[in-house]
Each structure stands twice: as structure tokens, then as C-alpha cells.
């Protein structure tokens, strides 16, 4: 409940302050957001599976974000940044879909 409220608070703050993203972070922010979403859905799934662990969630959240950003950074350095970020988005998207499918099965039995 508290993290869900936190999400809403964060959204509201972002909408009202509309901060500018630093130029250096611009390529990484969307990927980081996708990675974080993957971690969130993974966490919900773990709750439903009964194997949720606070520490694992926090660590996986942070590592997901950092690794995703790092992959994009590496891609930019190698000159394949756009292709690599597409790849990361595809992989994370597949993970999100499978997590959501698992959650759905738990909650709706369908």
C-alpha cells in the first residue's frame, strides 16, 4: 500500500515540477523506467508466489535499473546504442508480459 501511494506521489511531483532531464541522462532514463517496471511486476509476482523478500526486491530494482542503463551506455560507446536499447526494451517487455501473465493466473485463476 505504501509503495503504491509512493508511486502516485512520485507521479504527482513529476507532473507538477516538470523537471528537465540532464542531457547526459536522457538516453538512459526511459530504459531505466522500463527496467524498474519489470522489477515492480516481478515483485508483485513474488508476493503472489509467496516468496517475496524486501531485500531481494530492493536489490533487484536497483540492479535492474543500473544494468539496463549500463547496457545502453555500453551500446552508445560501441555505436549500437539505439539497437541495443531496442533489444533491452524487447527483453524487459517480454519479462513484464510473463510476470503479468503469472500475476493474472494467481489473482483470477485464468
Amino acid at each position: 500500500m505504501i509503495p503504491a501511494l509512493g508511486l502516485l506521489v512520485g507521479l504527482a511531483v513529476g507532473l507538477f515540477l516538470h523537471p528537465a532531464v540532464p542531457l547526459a541522462l536522457q538516453p538512459y532514463l526511459p530504459i531505466a523506467v522500463i527496467a524498474a517496471l519489470d522489477a515492480v511486476f516481478g515483485g508483485v509476482r513474488a508476493v503472489l508466489d509467496g516468496i517475496f523478500n524486501d531485500k531481494v526486491f530492493v536489490v533487484s530494482f536497483l540492479s535492474n535499473v543500473v544494468v539496463a542503463a549500463f547496457i545502453v551506455f555500453l551500446g552508445d560507446q560501441l555505436g549500437v546504442g539505439s539497437q541495443l536499447s531496442t533489444g533491452v526494451v524487447v527483453v524487459l517487455g517480454i519479462r513484464i508480459f510473463s510476470n503479468v501473465a503469472s500475476i493474472r493466473r494467481h489473482l483470477f485463476r485464468a
Binding site: G6, L7, G10, L11, G14, A36, V40, V58, S82
Partner: protein, 260 residues
């Protein structure tokens, strides 16, 4: 797992098991991990909102170098293609403009030629400077050869349109002596003979008055009288009727400057 084949219903307790777990976990707990998770959630929401806004605000600024280069390439290609297009269309337009102006020029030339030929052929009235010559011949001594001589003299002096009495004199005109009278192209012309000629009035009248010329002949040899008046605007109104040539056929000229 296919949706058309739903798993068998499980007891209600197990059905709500997932929700119970979720509710249990959602309960506010004052643990360090929960606070951390909330912090992360705030960060995530903030990042999402920021990114969405950024995406809406920024156009080219958020793109990578490679993408920018691609866009630039596309724009350059498109511009080159449009340039090419514009050049072609311009060339076509220039062609059309010059074509229509040269068409108009050709039409003007053709019209001028037509006017010239119609005056020569005697199918149109003409006006301009010239002389009017009247021969009074009460003794009927003027003959067709003399009139023909007069016409030839006028032509030599540059007369462009000539009329004797009511008859237009053209290239094919013939003079005939019928008794004491003169016929031109089968039409009788009677005394006094009035000859109108368009040309340089000064030149024409000098040619007529030249010593040993027409005037002297008429006065001295025939005893007839002749008066010559110069006019600045004389009208040759008699028309010659063209007859279709029976034998002569035109050879098409290579230049299609049309004469209608």
C-alpha cells in the same frame, strides 16, 4: 495455457488466496525495507512522469547522433529530389513560354505575308501614298499597248497596287484592243482613263514625266491630255477575282509558314 480451456474451479478459499496475500503484503508496515520500497516507488513515478513530459516537449534534442544523421540524410535526399523536380518543371515552363511566344511570332509573320500576297494578288483593297493619273482622249487614240506601257512604267517605278478605271491590275492581267476600245481582263475601260497607283508618289510621278516617257508620248504623239496628281493617301478599291489554277500545283515548301 489456452483461454478456451479454463482450469477447473478451485474452492473459494484458494480462489481468494492470491488476493489475501496481496492484501497482507499491502498492509502498512513500518519496516526499513517497506520504506525503501516506497522510496523506490516514488523515484519510479517521478522518473515516469519526467520521461513522459520530456518526450512530449523535446523533438530533435532527445535524439541520438546516429538518428540525427539519418534524419539529416533523409532531408538532404528529399531536398535534392525536390530540387531536381523544380528544375524539370522550370525547364518545361520555359519551353512552354518560348513555344507560345514563337508561335505568336510565326502567326504575325504569316499574317504579314498574307497581307503582302493579298495586295499583290489584288484580292484586298489597299491604301497608301501614290499618284492618280487621268488621260483624256477624245480622239480615241489611246491603245492597249500604250496603257500596258504605262502600267509597266508604273511597276518599274515601284507601284505596288494599280487600278485602271474599275479594274485592278495584277500579274495575270491582260490588255486587249477591242475596236477603238481597250479591255483589261475582259472588262471594258472607257475614256477618260483614270489610273491609280500606290507607291512612292514622287518616284511614280517623275517616272511618268520623264522626257521621252509616257506623258510626252501621250501629249505629243496622241494629242491627248494627261494630268498627274500626287496623293498622300490613295485608295485602290477594285478587287481582282482569283480563279483556281487549272494546271499549276504548288510544291510544298519545307518551311511550314502557313498561308491560309
Amino acid at each position: 495455457m489456452s483461454r478456451s480451456d479454463p482450469p477447473p474451479r478451485v474452492p473459494a478459499t484458494e480462489d481468494s488466496f492470491g488476493w489475501q496475500r496481496l492484501a497482507l503484503m499491502a498492509r502498512p508496515r513500518a519496516t526499513k525495507a517497506n520504506a525503501l520500497a516506497a522510496l523506490l516507488a516514488i523515484l519510479l513515478g517521478f522518473a515516469v512522469a519526467t520521461q513522459v513530459r520530456q518526450n512530449q516537449v523535446l523533438g530533435l534534442g532527445s535524439l541520438r547522433q546516429v538518428e540525427l544523421v539519418t534524419i539529416l540524410d533523409n532531408a538532404t535526399l528529399l531536398s535534392a529530389r525536390l530540387d531536381q523536380n523544380a528544375r524539370e518543371l522550370q525547364a518545361t515552363r520555359d519551353e512552354l513560354i518560348s513555344g507560345s511566344s514563337s508561335g505568336a511570332a510565326a502567326l504575325t509573320v504569316a499574317q504579314e505575308r498574307l497581307d503582302t500576297l493579298r495586295i499583290l494578288a489584288g484580292t484586298t483593297s489597299a491604301h497608301g501614298p501614290g499618284i492618280r493619273m487621268t488621260i483624256n482622249d477624245p480622239q480615241a487614240k489611246v491603245t492597249a499597248p500604250l496603257l500596258l506601257d504605262a502600267i509597266e512604267e508604273l511597276r518599274d517605278a515601284g507601284a505596288e497596287a494599280i487600278q485602271v478605271g474599275d479594274v485592278r491590275v495584277v500579274a495575270s492581267s491582260y490588255f486587249d484592243q477591242a475596236g477603238s476600245e481597250v479591255e483589261i481582263d475582259g472588262t471594258k475601260v472607257t475614256e477618260p482613263y483614270v489610273i491609280s497607283a500606290i507607291g512612292n508618289a514622287q518616284t511614280l510621278s517623275s517616272a511618268m514625266e520623264i522626257p521621252g516617257g509616257l506623258s510626252e508620248n501621250v501629249r505629243l504623239k496622241l494629242g491627248a491630255s494627261i494630268t498627274i496628281t500626287q496623293a498622300t493617301d490613295l485608295t485602290v478599291g477594285a478587287l481582282h477575282t482569283l480563279s483556281e489554277p487549272r494546271y499549276a500545283r504548288p510544291i510544298p515548301s519545307p518551311a511550314p509558314a502557313a498561308i491560309p
